[in-house]
């Protein structure tokens, strides 16, 4: 019970006025009589009690005023109401990787949640409407509102867990989407943060169903193939349980095993497993052969660089920049043969050679022939191999704010000078930044494919050893990511799950998911198809041209921890019993209060009329 507008309770001061009026009226008027011998005096005790026992008219008027004041103040009651017919239910499902965990009974957590939901649907009166919502990276209504139970059952059957971590923003969006429902049933394997529930304003109608028991899980955290014939690869495995676990790790490269052993992992510890060096580059696949609760994080792919010697060209008017960039290129693949040259001296490099990689810093088109090129701090209207990356103006100091793979940085990284570029439509941004004391952000990095050649651009200057500055490590990471994507094979891609994958493909492209399902993809005007990899495993994109394999890796420390307790800093949302469909609702009672006030006034009128008749008074 509460008040919607407590300030309006000031109207209750009218009760004070009423009491004052009655007290004044109760001060006995003095009338003069011929003699007291005709009148009996009322005994004193009775007279005292009469002072307090106000007549019914007062109570009726006080009741009317009180009821009206409470109605204006918006009195409401909060009560559990049985869900009646034609109520709207929203069934919200966590579709994160954790919901795909298999329990001891052999069914997934999502299946358990589905059974609970089916029970709710079965118990609901006929005519109730259901909305089925799923959330992981984003909220998605798998079934629209207003559907009947049979349709809702079909929608439940279509729910599948994804190999991504459920984002709180997606849960918030799902709850906001479900806010119109009379009852919201949330099925998840961990309680939502209370602050998030408060933000969505669904606290009174939300029923949380926690599904799944704590389970043991081993996961491959990372995989690095190393440099073939040069350095060992590493595979990191983590034990997410509170007891030692035995797992069988298998690592394959180029179709044959390079590592196969049983490992004993200490409770909640990581094992770094070295292997190799590999004899050749290519796809490296690591997998945990021992079955556990969550399979999505039991395999991982990595790409080992080729062992073939590759030629790289670094062009920059600044010798220090040439040196820095050459170090970065060699750090990526020490099989590179790097040629550093000054663009002012065109004879310093071989114009006839087709380089595997060309890194061009602050230089215009110089007729470099390269399969992949990275333009750094491109001059305005620079044209590189027929590719125009226009730069509108320059800023003295730029800040790196957002980077692909890291999202919005917690603290912007102060860079040097930058040129504001306008990437063509066939390029996709990889980082964004803003000029100091400016508001509009602009791309700081972009990558794309043009006529079969990979082209990347970095808008900021890398002079003054920017890439080697430990305080500005994000600039180096961004540069390495961009170079690795430029050097990646065209037919093989390794991406984390949940990201949009852009693949060069022709018409009639289609993608085959790891579970074998196929779906067509529509290419954009630049011959690219995009899809989001939500399962861990190998996707295959086929079209008229050569096929491209996309390996999606999944790992999330929070989601993979299937026995994780509720974080101490987050207050768990109140859990409501799943048995019996009921909801906590806020119900204003203004109308009953107004009716009560009217009844009181009618009663008062009747009493006044009776008194008028009794005392033969023409008016009251």
């Amino acid at each position: 019970m509460g008040l919607l507008t407590p300030l309006n309770l000031l109207y209750a001061l009218s009760l004070v006025a009423l009491v004052a009026i009655y007290l004044r009226a109760r001060s006995r008027p003095t009338i003069e009589v011929s003699s007291l011998m005709l009148f009996e005096e009322i005994p004193a005790p009775v007279a005292k009690s009469r002072l307090l026992r106000l007549d019914a008219l007062f109570w009726l008027e006080a009741l009317a005023l009180g009821a009206m004041s409470l109605a204006v103040a918006g009195l409401y009651v909060r009560s559990h109401q049985a869900v009646g017919p034609n109520h709207r239910h929203a069934l919200v499902f966590d579709l994160g990787a954790g919901m795909g965990a298999v329990g001891e009974n052999g069914i997934t957590r999502l299946s358990t949640a589905r059974q609970l939901a089916l029970r709710i649907i079965a118990q609901a009166p006929a005519g109730d409407q259901f909305t089925v919502l799923g959330y992981a990276l984003e909220a998605e209504a798998t079934h629209a509102a207003g559907s009947q139970a049979p349709d809702a059952r079909k929608a439940l059957a279509a729910l599948v867990p994804t190999a991504v971590a459920a984002r709180p923003a997606a849960l918030r969006a799902a709850l906001i989407h479900a806010r119109a429902a009379d009852q919201i049933d949330l099925f998840a394997d961990r309680p939502p943060p209370a602050a998030l529930i408060d933000d969505a304003h669904v606290g009174g109608r939300l029923i949380f169903h926690k599904v799944g028991a704590p389970a043991s899980n081993m996961a491959i955290v990372s995989l690095d193939g190393g440099v073939p014939r040069s350095s060992v690869g590493r595979c990191v495995v983590r034990n997410f349980t509170d007891r030692p676990q035995v797992c069988e790790l298998v690592i394959e490269a180029a179709g044959r095993e390079v590592f196969h052993s049983k490992l004993v992992a200490e409770p909640r510890a990581e094992i770094v497993v070295p292997f190799g060096p590999l004899s050749a580059g290519g796809i490296v696949h690591a997998r945990i052969a021992t079955p556990d609760a969550l399979a999505a994080d039991n395999q991982r792919w990595a790409l080992a660089p080729s062992i073939a010697h590759q030629h790289a060209l670094v062009l920059s008017p600044d010798a220090a920049v040439r040196d820095d960039l050459a170090r970065v290129v060699l750090a990526i693949n020490r099989n590179f043969l790097v040629t550093a040259a000054d663009p002012a001296r065109p004879d310093s490099f071989d114009h006839a050679r087709r380089y595997d990689l060309a890194v061009i810093h602050d230089s215009a088109e110089t007729g470099v022939n390269a399969a992949a090129r990275l333009l750094i701090f491109p001059p305005p209207l620079s044209r590189s191999h027929g590719v125009l990356v226009p730069a509108t103006h320059s800023v003295a100091i730029a800040e790196l704010q957002e980077r692909a793979g890291a999202g919005i940085l917690s603290a912007p990284v102060l860079l040097g000078a930058a040129r504001v570029i306008e990437p063509p439509a066939w390029m996709e941004p990889m980082a964004r930044g803003v000029g100091v004391r400016e508001h509009d952000s602009f791309p700081l990095a972009a990558i794309g494919s043009h006529n079969g050649d990979a082209v990347g651009v970095l808008a900021f200057d890398v002079r003054d050893h920017l890439l080697l500055d430990p305080d500005r490590m994000d600039a180096l990471v961004l540069t390495i990511d961009l170079l690795q994507r430029l050097l990646a094979p065209r037919d093989v891609m390794i991406e984390p799950t949940g990201t949009f994958v852009t693949v060069a493909a022709g018409a009639h492209a289609r993608v085959t998911a790891p579970d074998g399902s196929m779906r067509p993809l529509e290419a954009d005007p630049w011959g690219r198809v995009r899809f989001r990899a939500l399962e861990s495993g190998r996707y295959l994109v086929t079209s008229n041209g050569p096929a491209t394999a996309v390996y999606a890796n999944y790992f999330d420390a929070g989601e993979s921890d299937l026995s994780a307790p509720v974080p101490a800093t987050e207050r768990p949302a109140p859990s409501v019993a799943t048995a019996g469909p009921s909801q906590l609702s806020v119900r204003p009672i203004a109308l009953p209060l107004v009716i009560l006030a009217l009844l009181a006034l009618i009663g008062e009128s009747i009493m006044l009329a009776q008194r008028a008749v009794r005392w033969r008074a023409a008016h009251v």
Binding site: R26, R28, P29, T30, I31, E32, V33, S34, S35, L36, M37, L38, F39, E40, E41, I42, A47, R50, R611, R614, W615
Partner: protein, 307 residues
Amino acid sequence: MKEMRSPLATRAFEPEFLRKLDGLMIGTRRARTHRAGQRTIGRHQGGGIEPENFREYAHGDDLRFLDWNALARHDDLSIRTFRAERQLEITIMVDASASMAVPSDDDKLGLALTLGAGLAFIGMSENDLVRFVAFAGGRGASRLEATPFRSRRETYNHFRPFVSGLKAGGETRLATAAGELIENRRVPGMVIVISDFLVSASDYEEALGGLLGAHHEVKVLHVMGDRESTGNYPPGSYRVRDCETGELRDVTFGPTASEACRRRLAEHADGLRAFCTRRGIMYAPAFGASHLDETMTREFPRLGVMH
């Protein structure tokens, strides 16, 4: 203490009101004639102008009434008797205390004065000597206002200033007023007491007993107002104040209180009536100014008024 004039009293001098009183006379238990040589209650012993009878002379008779003609003709001693003069004194005592003006819309004083004037008019039609005496208690003493005796109808209007100008005020000191009246040592006559008698029984018993003891023929006209007699007060809680004593009392008016008020008035009136009956006093109630004509028709005969 409140003083009020009575608007109803002016009706006592309207011709229409007086026409209703024509032909009426007040009956009295005492003979209006007296025989010469005997004790009479008349003021003038043996006086009179109207011959009544003859009788034989007896020793001791006044020789002035000897019929000398009969003696000369028949040598018979006979005494002439005459009807006595009308010497009945009628005193109309009107209560002029403050209680006669409360409740104001009842106009008890006006009712008392009108009835008293009517009785005076009837008495004057028989050439009786009539006077008004108004009594009320002042500060520490009784206030007694009296008019001169008047005996003829032609002088009836001389009472108008008294009747119209009488104001109510002061306490009801009935016994004191009766005592003062007796002390005037008038000859015994008729005393008509008109009051609400809202005094203690001992007070009116002392007053009426004193008048009887002074050999007056006493008649009582008990006057009450309409609201008083019905107890019809507006409902609610009030603090009532006695208009004469100023005493306060908390009362809640309602059906029960009205019933109690009527009951107490009935008990009081019954007590007064019973006392009057025991002492041979004619008692007549006059409850309500709205019933003036009805009261005169129905209650005046109880006071001995006859055609």
